[in-house]
């Protein structure tokens, strides 16, 4: 049985990764998960300088999901390069660094700095709904997305994954813009903007008022967007949004994803990634599937 997948020339032992922001840099979950077993670890977003993030409360539970407005708190690239990359290097897994910024220059600074680091791929966060400048502003207009993708591609020494926002009218337009600008892969979806109000206190549940919705509640939206985008572009897609088990992950693969990422469910069950990997293998065995790549986009299109 072959579970390897290749994305932009980088071969992963299996198609299961962690979604950015839900797994730190792996350290916090290494009590629970043997990081060697993961296809890749996608780190928490890192900027050129430390970011404080938003005031608390930053998280709120919702039906079958959660809202977060962390605001991309991170230590900046210096601490990250000195501490987190060497930590991840100890493991036999691919390292994908999520990059965030407020201006194009911020992104480029991090991308250039990572050029000499032992990092396998870059994931560019142009879709965080919780920071006021940058981030999502680049990911909601096709021309802006095109511009920032091309700038990053000029400087990047690793393959570039553009992480797309679901908070757009037409995901295929965004996917095509990123592809046209040279993106090597896409990842989707980031969180869906939401809001929760405490009716007893008449207060917003989050200090930021709005937050990003994640968890099983968003999975059907994510599967639909992955399906649509995979028909619009020829670059590989990393699918995510509410994956809780192998069945969910396989759904994303069939919809057209070449790999998948587990996000909010890490918080619910810290062993989710491993259970997804084992469940995909069991499914392949059950149906006599030799290569996991045979599942990619393999939904039966006939009625």
């Amino acid at each position: 049985m072959n579970t390897k997948v290749t994305i932009a020339g980088v071969t992963l032992n299996n198609p299961v990764m962690t979604a950015s922001g839900t797994f730190g840099s792996g350290m916090e979950y290494s009590d629970f998960v043997d990081l060697n077993r993961l296809g890749a670890v996608v780190t928490k977003g890192v900027a050129n300088v430390p970011w404080q993030g938003n005031p608390t409360p930053r998280v709120a539970e919702t039906y079958g999901g959660m809202l977060n407005a962390i605001g991309l708190q991170n230590p900046g690239i210096d601490v990250f390069a000195e501490r987190d990359i060497p930590f991840l290097k100890k493991y036999d897994t691919k390292i994908i660094v999520n990059v965030c910024g407020k201006t194009v220059e911020d992104y480029l600074e991090v991308v250039e700095r990572l050029g000499d680091e032992p990092v396998d791929m870059l994931e560019i966060n142009v879709s965080c709904p919780n920071v006021k400048e940058g981030a999502i502003a680049f990911g909601q207009k096709a021309d802006c997305l095109y511009d920032i993708t091309s700038e990053i591609k000029k400087k990047a020494r690793q393959p570039v994954i553009m992480k797309l926002s679901p908070n757009v009218t037409d995901i295929t337009e965004m996917a095509k813009a990123a592809e046209a600008a040279g993106a090597d892969a896409l990842s989707m979806i980031n969180t869906i903007t939401g809001m929760k109000i405490d009716i007893h206190k008449r207060k917003f549940a989050l200090a930021n008022r709005t937050g990003g919705l994640s968890g099983p509640a968003i999975k059907p939206v994510a599967v639909r967007m992955v399906y649509q985008a995979s028909h619009a572009v020829n670059i590989p897609i990393i699918g995510m949004g509410g994956i809780a088990n192998a069945e969910d992950a396989i759904e994303f693969l069939l919809a057209g994803a070449s790999a998948v990422a587990v996000g909010a469910m890490n918080f619910v069950n810290p062993y989710t990634t491993i259970e997804v990997i084992e469940g995909i293998e069991a499914y392949m065995k059950q149906y006599g599937i030799e290569n996991v790549t045979d599942l990619i986009g393999a939904v039966d299109e006939s009625l």
Binding site: K44, T56, V59, G64, Q73, N74, N266, V268
Partner: protein, 258 residues
């Protein structure tokens, strides 16, 4: 430090001990690693309530491998827990956070101060502390809980908001009313109480260790949901935001901006 784990725990017993307050004993392998001031995260069975509920450890019975959790019903998750009967199982994640720094209290006069649902962790703390213990607990009214357990380990001073038992007011009023002093404070309770303690400790020139709470998702330091402002640059994100779940929940009062 032991590795954190998510395990299945068995309900040994559960009873209601005050309005909305439940007293739950769990049998779990996590008990052997637990200390005063740490917490576990308890998972609801209902998949619509996904996130584990952080609950402080009230008492540890290492020999029997049991943890006691005393919690208040605050929503759907804790309401579900309150219906658990002997023999039922609950999934828990733990042991989480750093406990109270017991060594700091050795041989000193210590105030253990608990307010409302911040009272439970004071019980294990009272058991583990080797010090001269004055225990100050604040309730809304005469619907008291844990006051008899606490009395086994030190002098208990009660304050109630309505004055029905002990000093009328809060734990700060109880300090003044009883004219007592300490070299060190360890506390858990609502934010206004912790702010008052921080200020009192500064005025008195004594150390205070306070246990904070915040909305949490992961409980293990990954999501950065439950941060609090710190005086010094934090070691994780280098932005003066410590993670309550992993850097706390107990902090020295002067280190945090609350």
């Amino acid at each position: 430090m032991s590795r954190k784990k998510k395990v299945k725990a068995t309900v040994v017993s559960q009873k209601q001990i005050a309005d909305q307050i439940y007293d739950l004993w769990l049998e779990t392998e996590l008990a052997k690693h637990a200390h005063a001031g740490q917490f576990v995260a308890v998972y609801p069975h209902n998949a619509s309530t996904l996130l584990p509920r952080p609950i402080s450890i009230c008492e540890v019975d290492k020999s029997a491998g049991r943890l006691r959790l005393v919690y208040r019903i605050a929503g759907k998750g804790t309401a579900e827990f309150s219906a658990c009967k002997t023999g039922d199982t609950l999934e828990i994640l733990g042991v989480l956070g750093n406990g109270f720094p017991l060594e700091k209290a050795k041989g000193k006069r210590v105030f253990l101060m608990g307010g409302g649902i911040g009272i439970p962790p004071m019980l294990e703390l009272a058991k583990e502390l080797d010090a001269d213990k004055q225990i100050l607990v604040g309730y809304r009214n005469k619907d008291l809980f844990l006051e008899e357990d606490l009395a086994k380990y030190g002098n208990v001073y009660i304050a109630t908001e309505d004055g029905s038992v002990g000093t009328k007011g809060n734990v700060m009023d109880a300090i003044r009313a009883n004219n007592i002093r300490a070299d060190l404070i360890m506390a858990c309770g609502p934010m206004p109480m912790l702010r008052a303690i921080k200020q009192y400790a500064e005025e008195q020139g004594i150390e205070a260790y306070i246990s904070l709470e915040e909305r949490m998702a992961c409980g293990v330091g990954a999501c950065l949901g439950c941060v609090c402002k710190t005086r010094e640059v934090d070691h994780h994100s280098h932005v003066n935001n410590a993670r309550i779940c992993t850097d706390g929940p107990v902090f020295e009062a002067k280190e945090v901006e609350i």
